[in-house]
Symmetry: C2
Subunit: 201 residues, 2 copies
């Protein structure tokens, strides 16, 4: 199909499709003349994925590029989650003292050696933000959150397809960025339902 | 204490403290002359809360102002969660068709009448993003996520203090914005731990 048709199929203005092409997010089509090229179904799918990432999932264009590159060049299964998370996590301050996060991982029995450093740093920052906001949670409550997330994660990891490294990488990366908004919206709605029951007049 | 001391206590540059004062995020101190004022411990705490919100929790200045106002003017307990979430959720397109989100809430037995419309819209957007990204989850998997979040939320709502409306509002709002980064970082680390176990060479 031609550029105008591709844009219509993907539900995007032609100018936006050209922009993604220039930025290298969308692979070139097959040139048919100096000014024209043909695009296929893979281009439509790629555009839908870009829309999902930059739209509701709120990824920046730079993060979207890194995510697409990681899907195309998948790491080995063993490192998959760590590298996938490294891909979708903004880089953290490498000099951050990770003592609180490491102590929590030890208490939980999660092997911090298998964890991506930026993910550990994200946990450290989240724990510090609670303290800084005067919202101190007990160890017991934090461990309750951790157990709930381990229940979620164990099911998710069991679902990762193993037929190809590309499929596994795509599953893990999209499962991270696209499921996070789902989880957070479900938590808020569950709180509202539970609150209505507790405080119903 | 004077402005310079307040800034030092809160770990912020004086210019930033003056900016928050001008923007109305920080209440005025007690004037002692035309150019000087005295500040107290409440000002230090407020600055720590602002830092936690605009820093790791990633709230904009406008959202931070809305959050602080909601803590100062708490709604009734019954509406607390909905209004708190409305406060911390960016406004959504009011013409969005919420059919998929409503159908899910029905299947879960959560009363959508007690849910804030913007929270339902956030769920609808998250569900659509999964489809748009080609990451279609089965009803069974989505309901598994919902049950996990209901487990988390039921514990959280049971913990809401009922001694004052201010305390309840502060608990709920900070519990939303400060706990979300904690939950997401725990999910990523739990995935990495579970993945290391499944795919260990």
């Amino acid at each position: 199909m031609r550029m105008s048709e591709l844009a219509r199929e993907a539900g995007l203005p032609t100018a936006t499709v050209k922009y993604y092409l220039r930025e290298g997010l969308l692979p070139e089509g097959q040139r048919t003349s100096a000014t024209q090229a043909q695009y296929g179904e893979a281009h439509v799918e790629r555009l839908r994925l870009i829309r999902a990432l930059v739209g509701p999932a709120g990824q920046s264009l730079a993060d979207t590029r890194r995510i697409l590159q990681a899907i195309e060049n998948p790491p080995s299964e063993y490192d998959l989650l760590g590298i996938a998370h490294q891909t979708v996590t903004p880089p953290r301050d490498p000099t951050l003292d990770l003592a609180r996060a490491r102590a929590l991982l030890d208490r939980l029995g999660w092997d911090s050696a298998t964890c991506a450093p930026d993910s550990v740093a994200a946990l450290e920052e989240a724990l510090r933000a609670l303290t800084a906001g005067g919202f101190e949670l007990s160890d017991e409550v934090i461990e309750r959150y951790a157990r709930a997330m381990m229940g979620v994660a164990a099911d998710e990891v069991a679902d990762v397809p193993t037929d190809s490294a590309e499929a596994a990488a795509q599953y893990v990366i999209l499962g991270t960025v696209l499921v996070e908004p789902l989880l957070l919206s479900l938590r808020r709605l569950a709180q509202q339902s539970a609150s209505a029951r507790r405080f119903a007049p």
